[in-house]
């Protein structure tokens, strides 16, 4: 179902065409003219016509209408014409399978031609015609070609097996082609061996456990021999295949390494990197005291350095891989720091990678150079790069203790430049330096304080506040400084608010006499005037701690902080091992295991570095541990949240008069709503590119991040505050469901866009089952068969729950109605607009794409009626910013009729009350992904002419509100 994979990219189909003297727009007349020329008696004219057809094809024009005429030109002894026809065939055979059969005879005949070039060309082209029917005819010629006397034909045939496998895997197995292919690994010609390996590797990718590439010392020997003699591309295939082999012992490992090493001098960078992969993997097995091991380490550096003098694209890929290599074996490149120095006109993607590696290689020996460079970079033009350079200085300070002082003074110099973003970035990293080296550099605090006013980024503000709080006893005017932040407390971001709260509490604990007022102020701001549960919770905890046991408070708040680790963004060792086995691949560029992103790798084997044989297992593991600082278990900062979680579990009575209106456990239930649901809605996988380097050890918001031990009390509302219920009129008139509203079908895919297939449709939810009702009309002249459907990822994971059931062929002018059941368990990707659905429909002619929008009520679930108390708590808990107001006009319904109608679409009325002639309906909706939407609807009673309703919708995911409103409107108006 390859076609479906194109679906996603098919947004908009906005094809841009260029004009050129060759390509005037396709008019009817032009096709007609070409047709005549193709059928001309004159050979020259024919050839010119085919060339024109090919030219149109290159720019993506549809010239499939000429299929029979072009195929007629195939029977020729003119090789160029034949090749051109073949080019055409490969492109269009799929859309004209019946006609493609016409070509089979010529192929079969050509496979017997005395000229090996023609035999190879025929078998190669035949394999490219992705039509099932042709494959049967292909088997015999292919079998012959695999055993052809000419190696050129054999190597072409080897690739053809992979092509055929892609079309019809079963056929290839049944016909025994896989065994023939395996035999070709022992072929006398190195090119044939290389192609056989490439074909087998590709096939093996779809059969992870097939053991197709059964590597043993004999085959390895053959591969190594072929390695020296085949083309550069063949060398890549063979090296990648070798990398999967597990040598039996260190001697075999060494002999393979010795025979692979010359590849490091190859001009083709892909060969070099594949060789590096093999060596990196196999050297793991070598005893470290072996002379050869040291030699090998030395040999690895120059080729890696050479890659960096290549074009920027190659550099980028090389740098991503070097990043892995220096984490695994820093000793290889430890003397090569300078090649990573940034040139000012390097593309930005190269600059950022180089910077990352510079920090990884930074050591006491080279830190002076590195710092001088980083300082230089901090004056560059590109803001992202400058920021990263400043952060890098901080990371150096943390990594190389001896350099910390110099780093701090460099940072101070940078702060003197007064360039706003440099100053802010510097303050953020100085905070980390303070964490790492407590009580060492406070002398700089005065300078930092001078820049207080220029800080406008939350991270920098939070860092500065942390510093003031942490060193409150040494800053005379700490209270003034913090107070100045407090003025705009509500406008600050959460990060800053939390930090400010903690800092003031610290200040209070250190200087209790002067700051009582201040601490009162911040506690009440945090607990009473804030909607943020994190902030409120933290405020209460401090409040209780301070009021019950100030000594304990001191111990908790001013506790000694655990050290931050020196390397914050090391790749986790097992992942690193796996990635080392994938050097040179996409996985190594993205620093993610292949299983994480490569589609079509149906089941990826996790590759492992071989363990060293011979030595005892325990010795082996410690060996690995010594190979570099990277393996040292990084000192992890225990999440301070854990501490808080424990505190929360203590059953403490509310300390002061300010009783929270809802009990904590209930709030948590509400908070949990936002957990999974929102994540999946926001889930955005686009940011896969580029490892983030900016990792300063985050400690800022450590406190008060939602504790891990959050009770998942969803829906089980504790019986709280009976008085609250009085708000609701218990007799909320809710009638029986009347069934959901189904919109009339609209045309989604007009016939002219889909070669005669018209699709119109609508969506419905019937008894909890989502259905897509489709009407397919054949407006073309020929019969349509083989229908299938697929969806692109979408916001709520809609996916067909079964195949598209069009059992009989659709003859011209025939119309058929189908109902396709849908599930919501498909892959999720946020769409724009949220309810957009991109669909691919396939038939025997082609694949067509369209997008449509579904009413959000499609994913309102039947159990969406919320308990009242939960409703009230949740309503309060959702920040007012998330509330959206709407008006619905021209509605002639009373409130009961309205709620009846809405219930049909799973919008449930929980309660109703009447205030001053207005009916207020409280309603809840739950989406399939667990998101709750709450609504308040106000309807004027008693006045049948008054036709306006007001609607307030609240949801944790505010982008949903608009679509929920549209559902209201749709349901109420129909």
């Amino acid at each position: 179902m390859e076609w479906a994979s194109q679906l996603c990219e098919n947004r908009g189909l906005g094809s841009k065409m260029t004009d050129s003297k060759y390509f005037t727009t396709t008019k009817k007349g032009e096709i007609f003219e070409l047709k005549a020329e193709l059928n001309s008696d004159k050979k020259e004219k024919k050839k010119e016509a085919v060339k024109k057809v090919i030219a149109s094809m290159t720019v993506g024009k549809d010239v499939s209408a000429l299929f029979p005429d072009v195929v007629n030109c195939m029977q020729t002894d003119n090789l160029e014409l034949k090749k051109l026809v073949y080019l055409y065939l490969m492109n269009y055979a799929k859309s004209q399978p019946d006609m493609a059969i016409m070509a089979v005879n010529t192929f079969v005949k050509d496979c017997e031609d005395p000229n090996p070039l023609i035999r190879a060309l025929a078998v190669r082209t035949m394999g490219c015609i992705r039509v099932d029917k042709i494959t049967e005819y292909l088997c015999e010629p292919l079998r012959k070609c695999l055993k052809d006397e000419d190696p050129y034909v054999r190597k072409t045939a080897a690739v053809c097996v992979a092509k055929l496998h892609d079309i019809n895997a079963q056929l290839v197995e049944d016909q025994g082609f896989l065994d023939t292919l395996k035999d070709l690994i022992s072929d006398s010609n190195p090119m044939v061996v290389a192609n056989a390996v490439a074909a087998l590797s590709e096939i093996a990718e779809s059969h992870p456990n097939s053991n197709l590439l059964d590597l043993n010392p004999q085959t390895i020997n053959k591969l190594l021999t072929a390695l020296n003699e085949c083309t550069e591309w063949g060398q890549i295939f063979i090296l990648d295949c070798l990398a999967n082999y597990m040598p039996r012992d260190d001697r075999e490992s060494q002999s393979i390494c010795e025979r692979v090493t010359p590849r490091l001098s190859h001009a083709n960078s892909a060969v070099v990197l594949s060789a590096v992969k093999v060596l990196m993997k196999f050297m793991e097995m070598l005893p470290k005291d072996l002379d050869y091991y040291g030699t090998l380490l030395k040999k690895l550096a120059p080729p890696l350095v050479t890659l960096l003098s290549a074009e920027p694209e190659l550099q980028y890929v090389a740098l991503r891989n070097i990043n892995l290599i220096v984490q695994k074996r820093p000793e290889i490149l430890k003397h090569e720091m300078k090649v990573f120095f940034v040139k000012y006109n390097d593309p930005i993607y190269v600059k950022l990678e180089k910077l990352d590696i510079m920090i990884r290689l930074a050591s006491q020996a080279n830190i002076a150079q590195v710092l001088a460079e980083l300082k230089e970079y901090a004056t560059e033009v590109d803001v992202d790069f400058v920021r990263k350079a400043v952060r890098a200085i901080g990371r150096c300070a943390i990594k190389v203790e001896q350099s910390a002082e110099r780093c701090v003074s460099t940072l101070l110099d940078l702060i003197q430049t007064k360039v706003n973003y440099v100053v802010q970035e510097a303050i953020v990293v100085i905070k980390d330096i303070f964490r790492k080296y407590p009580n060492k550099y406070e002398s700089v605090i005065a300078t930092l304080c001078e820049n207080l006013d220029s800080l406008d980024e939350p991270e920098a503000r939070a860092a500065m506040i942390w510093i003031v709080g942490e060193y409150a006893e040494r800053i005379d005017n700490a209270d003034e400084l913090l107070e100045s932040f407090l003025e705009g407390f509500h406008d600050e971001s959460t990060q800053v608010q939390l930090q400010l709260l903690t800092a003031i509490v610290k200040l209070f604990l250190k200087k209790p006499t002067e700051t009582q007022e201040l601490v009162q102020q911040v506690l009440s701001l945090a607990t009473q005037d804030s909607d943020n549960p994190d902030l409120r919770d933290r405020g209460y905890i401090y409040w209780r701690l301070l009021s019950t046991d100030p000594v304990a408070a001191k111990e908790v708040v001013l506790a000694e902080k655990p050290l931050i680790s020196e390397e914050t963004d090391l790749i986790e060792p097992t992942l690193l091992e796996e990635l080392i086995c994938h050097i040179g691949t996409l996985a190594s560029v993205y620093h993610k295991p292949p299983s994480a992103f490569v589609e079509g790798s149906r089941g990826v084997q996790h590759k492992r570095i071989p363990a060293r044989a011979g030595s005892g297992e325990s010795a082996e593991s410690s060996d690995v541990g010594q190979s570099g600082p990277s393996e040292a278990p990084p000192a992890v900062i225990p999440s301070q949240g854990d501490l808080l979680g424990d505190l929360l579990n203590l059953d403490l009575a509310p300390p002061t008069a300010t009783v929270p209106s809802v009990q904590p456990s209930m709030q948590m239930g509400a908070m949990d709503l936002l957990g999974g649901g929102l994540d999946s809605l926001m889930g955005d996988e686009s940011d896969t590119l580029g490892g983030d380097i900016g990792g300063s050890p985050s400690m800022g918001a450590g406190l008060g991040v939602a504790p891990a031990a959050m009770p998942t009390a969803l829906g089980i509302a504790p019986a709280v505050g009976g008085g609250l219920g009085d708000l609701f009129d218990l007799g909320g008139g809710v009638g029986m469901p009347t069934g959901s509203y189904v919109a009339p079908k609209t045309v989604w895919l007009p016939a002219m866009k889909a070669k005669g297939l018209e699709i119109s449709g609508t969506f419905a939810r019937r008894g909890g089952i989502i259905q897509m009702d489709l009407t397919l009309t054949n407006k073309a002249m020929s019969v349509m068969t083989d229908f299938a459907i697929q969806f692109n990822r979408n916001s709520f994971g809609l996916a067909p729950a079964g195949p598209l059931q069009v059992l009989t062929p659709l003859s011209p002018n025939q119309t058929i109605d189908v109902s396709l059941p849908l599930s919501t368990s498909g892959p999720v990707m946020k769409m724009e607009p949220l309810n957009n659905l991109q669909v691919a429909v396939k038939n025997n002619i082609d694949v067509f794409y369209f997008s449509c929008q579904y009413p959000l009520s499609l994913i309102f679930v039947e159990d969406g009626k919320m308990e009242r108390q939960v409703f009230l708590a949740t309503w309060k808990d959702i920040p007012n910013d998330n509330e959206a107001q709407f008006q619905i006009k021209d509605i002639h319904l009373n409130s009961d009729a309205a709620s009846n109608k809405l219930q049909g679409s799973n919008i449930f009325t929980i309660a109703k009350r009447t205030v001053e002639g207005q009916d207020m309906l409280y309603q809840s909706v739950k989406l399939t992904n667990g998101i709750w939407v709450l609504a308040e609807m106000r309807i004027q009673t008693g006045n049948p002419n008054y036709t306006e309703m007001e609607l307030s919708i609240k949801c944790r995911a505010p982008e949903v509100c608009q679509f929920v409103f549209l559902c209201y409107e749709l349901v109420l108006k129909n």
């Binding site: 098919n10 001098s265 594949s274 996409l586 992103f597």
Partner: protein, 418 residues
């Protein structure tokens, strides 16, 4: 393997597409266009772009983006190297690799692409082999073809395709047998404010043009082979012989090819041939800044430094420059803030200089960034690393070839910080 290739021109139009497996809709390039829009400069487009179902790997050459579409796990370098080969082949066939040239020869381009890749596997990428399969277009051949009705497509299996020397065809004949080697070295360097070298390295290549009859077997030896400890060879070079004797022994391809490239990074071996004295200063509160540049030769082994071109990206706040060069011409583009000075040859007796003032935009504060100065130059008859060819011998054929060796040093990325 490689699924499809799209060629995109500078204005963002797809002007050619080729599919080696099933057809991938060109709308896949929308993701590329998004990345292109985000990039501040054309060359800042990330080389690997993920899309939901494919990966796009692109290179920018001759103002054309070559965008390859892949679907499964494929080594990105493999794809990039292949794209380079495509670019080289176009250049080889059409003289230039430009949108116009590609469009004019669209059928040959298509035939070539088909020959270079089969089902995503590289098939024939050696220019020698390709030229036997598909003859490069020449005006003469086009005329002859129209008269005689013969074709551009070779009818026979290329001889080199499967031999142990796939890079060379058999039956090569020349009346004048000649072999020329160019040793070209580029210096990449970063020089700091005070004039001391931060990094310097040499990227060297030996490019050859060999037109010899038959199957000649050549050996090339160096006076000082120890210089070459980091080398990449053309596949024709016998690696074992190099390892053992430090001699290049090979059967050369026919025509132009790169015999080897090498890298000299050891600092003491890299001479810096020019120096720059600079004084670019702005005063706080003044809208005028001073600008002075003087160039001079440093370690040139007595050779002349020629074709000198100085360029520098001045700070954004600079409005205009009013300078006078002692020789050559200078231009300043007030939009891009690019200053370039075409110096020509450096005369050690009378050092070239560029002096004057630069004006800042009114109200602009003193610029934070320090401009970097980029220098290009050429030195004929000198390999700055000191590499020297000792002798070239030919075995296997009887005639006496004409031999020639040329040396040249150029600036690569030669940057001076201020």
């Amino acid at each position: 393997m490689i699924h499809s290739l799209f060629l995109v021109n500078a204005s963002g139009d797809i002007f050619l597409e080729k599919h080696w497996k099933s057809v991938v809709s060109r709308s896949v390039c929308d993701y590329f266009f998004e990345a292109l829009e985000r990039a501040t400069e054309p060359e800042n487009v990330p080389p690997v772009i993920p899309t939901p179902h494919h990966f796009l790997i692109n290179v920018l050459r001759h103002r054309i983006y070559f965008v390859a579409v892949i679907q499964s796990e494929v080594p990105p370098l493999f794809v990039i190297e292949f794209l380079h080969r495509v670019v080289d082949t176009f250049q080889d066939y059409f003289g230039v690799c430009s949108e116009a040239a590609i469009k004019d020869n669209v059928v040959v381009v298509y035939e070539l692409l088909e020959e270079m890749l089969d089902n995503g596997f590289p098939l024939a990428t050696e220019s020698n082999i390709l030229k036997e399969l598909i003859k490069p277009p020449t005006i003469l051949r086009t005329v002859v073809n129209t008269i005689t009705g013969s074709t551009n497509v070779g009818e026979q299996l290329p001889t080199g395709q499967l031999s142990v020397v796939p890079w060379r065809r058999t039956g090569v004949k020349y009346t004048n047998n000649e072999a020329y080697f160019d040793v070209v070295e580029e210096i990449d360097a970063i020089i700091d404010k005070s004039g001391s070298t931060i990094t310097a390295e040499i990227q060297g290549v030996i490019d050859a043009c060999v037109k010899l009859t038959g199957m000649p077997d050549l050996t090339l030896s160096f006076m000082n082979p120890r210089l070459l400890d980091d080398v990449s060879f053309h596949p024709c070079v016998r690696f074992k012989r190099w390892e053992a004797e430090r001699i290049l022994s090979f059967i050369p391809p026919d025509g132009n090819f790169r015999l080897l490239s090498y890298h000299v990074s050891s600092q003491n071996l890299v001479a810096i041939p020019v120096y720059v004295k600079h004084n670019i200063s702005f005063r706080e509160g003044s809208s005028q800044g001073r600008f002075e540049l003087t160039l001079g030769p440093k370690q040139t082994m007595g050779k002349a430094v020629e074709s000198v071109l100085v360029s520098s990206q001045l700070p954004r706040g600079v409005l205009n420059a009013n300078l006078s060069p002692s020789q050559g011409t200078y231009t300043f583009d007030p939009v891009t803030k690019l200053l370039s000075w075409d110096v020509g040859k450096i005369n050690p007796q009378k050092l070239p200089s560029l002096k004057g003032s630069v004006s800042l935009q009114t109200g602009a504060s003193k610029p934070d960034e320090n401009p970097t100065i980029n220098i290009q130059f050429k030195i004929q008859q000198l390999a700055i690393s000191g590499l020297k060819v000792n002798r070239l011998d030919m075995y296997g054929e009887k005639y006496k070839p004409f031999k020639g060796i040329k040396y040249m040093t150029k600036a690569g990325k030669f940057q001076v910080r201020t």
